[in-house]
Subunit: 97 residues, 2 copies
DNA sequence: TGAATACATAGTGAAATAACTATGTAGCGC
DNA sequence: GCGCTACATAGTTATTTCACTATGTATTCA
């Protein structure tokens, strides 16, 4: 908290990380993955968003290492890649007025 | 958390709010304001960033109602406008690896 | 009133991020 | 091999966000 003020490198890192979260679809993906591991199709249906868009957003989350994939057979199972994400999503959720 | 999944309007609101936070300078401003009310000059010196940039970022934070100003004499005193911001900044800070 | 201090805004161009459509690939069952 | 399902990627255009420079406004004090 105080170190964030002094350490501009850390601020850059965190801002980059936060930008991955600060998107309507990506937040919802993270929120649903807080509950359990899901396939792309399951996520797509839960959110009611075109599959290509979901895959696109998942790629961003993957690239920034917020989620990870496990490919088994025909399916790609997505889950959170960081344990601190649950707390963060929970905290962010409370900011919705 | 679970409602974030269903409620896409809420996700949009929160994402918009989070985008205001997800910026290196703005995060640092919020972090420093967690401690106390400060003038623009004090913030500028603490961060080591040009004053115009700081004012610019403060305007964004003001517009989105994350901070508020109190003008007294020659000075503009900035402080957090929401009580939940402290917790959020604290939580975010922990995500810095 | 005029100069100095503190802060705000305008204007500009570059770069990042957006949504959307179309198409590609990989594994499985027949 | 063929077709189906599940998922990934490419390509395009629009919008947002960025940093930066220059300039403007308001208050105080001599």
């Amino acid at each position: 908290m105080a170190d964030l003020v002094r350490d501009s490198k850390k601020a850059v890192r965190i801002a980059y990380f936060m930008r991955a979260v600060a998107h309507p679809i990506r937040i919802r993906v993270l929120a649903i993955l807080c509950e359990r591991e899901l396939t792309v199709t399951e996520i797509t249906e839960a959110l009611g968003v075109p599959q290509a868009i979901v895959s696109q957003q998942l790629k961003i989350l993957r690239t920034r290492e917020l989620v990870k994939v496990s490919r088994r057979g025909l399916y790609a199972y997505y889950s959170l890649a960081r344990s601190d994400l649950k707390k963060l999503v929970c905290c962010i959720g409370k900011c919705g007025k």
